[in-house]
């Protein structure tokens, strides 16, 4: 780990300016219509200073903080997936010439994003999508955006009501994979960031900033704040033997119970930072001269998603919810050697009826234990 330094709040905009100089488009948390979302940022005045978010099942509220912390919230509903794996992507276009046609890759150059305020769970989610898109068949569209990204991580010093990264082993501290990582402190009159680099590119940027050396008490202060976040998680998930638990309980009555509550709206999959399902659409022009193939986000909660020759294979609500949860927490382990869940809690907060992945697993586990006991 590189040595930590201190960046004063008053110099924060220099970090942004340096990244813009390097050709990056900074993206970070912004206030839009009374909510925090990710969007382009020009200066620190775009960040949600003094705001924080309350999360519970199917509930989100933005409220004021006592201080002016820039990163004093937990998570917005959208995730970095919106940028790295956009809701729609042009895969290729085709032009007819004579009796034949040519297929052309997209001509636009991949953007260079500097992502500001990446949380530990979010970086873990990006790492999971890296495995998905950079596996046996690397996806050039994801890859071309991903390889140019600069990551400015921010450690969580408070946990949200639906967070459970501590259970999933993904947070609240960023351990690697970032270019720069910061911990924000506000005490008395001081508003500072403990900052360190994780890559050469990050180190080069830090070398050009007016930093003060951090003293050991700063580092231990940061550690204490992060440790506090770790114990303040709103949710927990016992992952012990989870794969076997779910495989053995494909017929558990809890699936019917959740099916009675689930709307099949697909919000959980849209907000999940690791969900990667997509469909493709061909869009020919009416004169038949050109055509485009687009990739758009899809969801396992959609009937059409399981459509194969003869009809859809997952018709009931029960089968669709079970597919999602079992893939996320169990089959994903076989497929990608990692859980598909990083414990960000988005699917809990943004489910309009507050269906809670941790509660569903708990119910299956408890009832199974009761059964085994008999």
């Amino acid at each position: 780990m590189t040595a930590a330094s201190i960046l004063d709040r008053s110099d924060f905009d220099q970090l942004l300016a340096l990244l813009v100089d390097e050709g990056y488009q900074p993206i970070g948390p912004i206030l839009e219509g009374g909510r925090i979302v990710y969007g382009p940022i020009d200066s620190s005045s775009d960040l949600p200073a003094g705001k924080t978010d309350l999360h519970d099942g199917g509930m989100y509220r933005l409220v004021d903080r006592q201080d002016d912390a820039l990163f004093g919230y937990n998570l917005p509903s959208d995730s970095w997936k919106q940028y790295l794996f956009p809701p729609q992507t042009l895969l290729w276009s085709a032009v007819r010439s004579g009796g034949s046609f040519s297929v052309n890759p997209p001509t636009s150059e991949a953007p260079r994003y500097a992502l500001f305020g990446v949380r530990a769970c979010e970086l873990a989610a990006i790492d999971i999508q890296d495995r998905v898109f950079d596996g046996a068949y690397p996806d050039p569209h994801y890859g071309s955006i991903r390889e140019r990204v600069f990551i400015v991580g921010v450690n969580c010093v408070q946990a949200g009501g639906t967070c459970f990264c501590a259970s999933m082993g993904t947070g609240p501290e960023l351990t690697d994979g970032y270019d720069i990582v910061m911990t924000e402190f506000i005490d008395e009159d001081e508003h500072r960031f403990l900052i360190r680099s994780g890559t050469t590119a990050g180190g080069d940027v830090l070398a050009r900033l007016p930093l003060a050396p951090a003293d050991p008490t700063d580092c231990s202060h940061a550690d204490a704040l992060i440790a506090e976040a770790a114990t303040g998680m709103g949710r927990t998930l016992d992952t012990g033997g989870i794969k076997e638990l779910l495989y053995e309980n494909a017929e558990h009555p809890r699936w019917d119970d959740v099916a009675s509550r689930c709307l099949l709206c697909a919000n959980c999959t849209m907000v999940c930072p690791t969900c990667f399902c997509a469909t493709t659409e061909d869009r020919p022009t009416l004169d038949g001269a050109t055509a485009e193939r687009w990739r758009t986000w899809d969801s396992c909660f959609a009937l059409e998603h399981s459509y194969i020759h003869g009809g859809p294979i997952r018709v009931s609500v029960r089968s669709r919810y079970r597919q999602w949860l079992t893939h996320k927490l169990a089959t994903w382990i076989d497929q990608f050697d990692t859980s598909g869940c990083v414990g960000c809690g988005r699917c809990i907060t943004w489910c309009p009826v507050g269906i809670d992945i941790t509660e569903e697993v708990k119910a299956i586990r408890t009832e199974e234990a009761a059964h085994a006991h008999r």
């Binding site: 909510r35 689930c262 849209m270 004169d287 969801s299 959609a302 059409e304 309009p352 009826v353």
Partner: protein
């Protein structure tokens, strides 16, 4: 090769949906290049005889005369697409299905005896076989062009049947139900509008009718938690798609409990 012929038919409706075709200004020339606009009174007084390879049918069936006319339209059409909430679900005028039509005619018309109308407003599919239903009040211009395009190439139209929530999330709109406690019909409504209302901090009104699978009971339970009363729920379900089976059954069940 002769171009396929297009006809546009109007039943009980406001014309808004067929106007979406005229509204497609940038694409209209391309449409006219690919298909012969043979019968479209809103666009041209010249009417070419059938049969028509593609018929777009707007409006619901509300009179005995229309109930006969739709049979003739079907007989002249190879591929029949209904456009809009009136044609696919009976429209806002289906509110009459719960009311006394004779009383309405008496209070609206000076000489009610001249009015020859049915007691109900029903969807085209209740009368003839429909090949494809395009939802919305009004329909989306893009979706209409997609249907015409798909017809020309003989492919399946890419018209998703999942919920409005998917469109909300794709455009990055924060959920109004979760963030503001605003009741929203989005989770049970078919996508297609681009989630316009939530983007303006309003709940979805359900203009595109029920999504492919809906769980209205669970959604209405959530509305109860948001302190929406039952009479308001009935009103919310009885708008443009009031008589779409899923919305109709839910509102009737609620009404019975009032």
């Amino acid at each position: 090769m002769t171009k396929p012929k297009l006809a546009v038919w109007k039943f009980a409706s406001c014309d808004g949906c067929q106007l979406s075709l005229l509204d497609a200004e940038d694409e209209l020339l391309a449409v006219a290049g690919a298909i012969e606009i043979a019968n479209f009174p809103e666009a041209s007084r010249e009417v070419l005889p059938g049969p028509y390879q593609l018929s777009l049918v707007e409006g619901s069936i509300t009179t005995p005369h229309d109930a006969e006319r739709i049979q003739a339209v079907r007989a002249e059409s190879e591929f029949l697409v209904t456009i809009g909430a009136c044609a696919t679900a009976g429209g806002i005028q289906a509110l009459r299905n719960w009311a006394d039509v004779a009383e309405f005619t008496r209070s609206v018309y000076a000489t009610p005896a001249f009015i020859d109308t049915l007691d109900t407003s029903t969807a085209i599919a209740d009368h003839v076989t429909v090949d494809f239903e395009l939802r919305g009040c009004p329909i989306s211009k893009e979706q209409l062009l997609e249907v015409v395009n798909a017809f020309i190439y003989g492919r399946r139209p890419a018209i998703p049947e999942y919920s409005v929530c998917v469109e909300c999330k794709r455009r990055g709109t924060t959920c109004v139900m979760v963030a503001d406690g605003t009741p929203c019909l989005g989770p049970v409504t078919q996508a297609g509008c681009g989630a316009i209302c939530p983007a303006y901090n309003r709940g979805c009104y359900g203009c595109f009718g029920p999504a492919e699978s809906v769980n209205l009971e669970a959604l209405l339970n959530e509305w109860r938690r948001l302190e929406v009363d039952e009479a308001t729920m009935v009103r919310a379900l009885r708008t443009y798609n009031a008589y779409a089976p899923e919305f109709r059954d839910a509102s009737e069940k609620l009404e019975a409990s009032l």
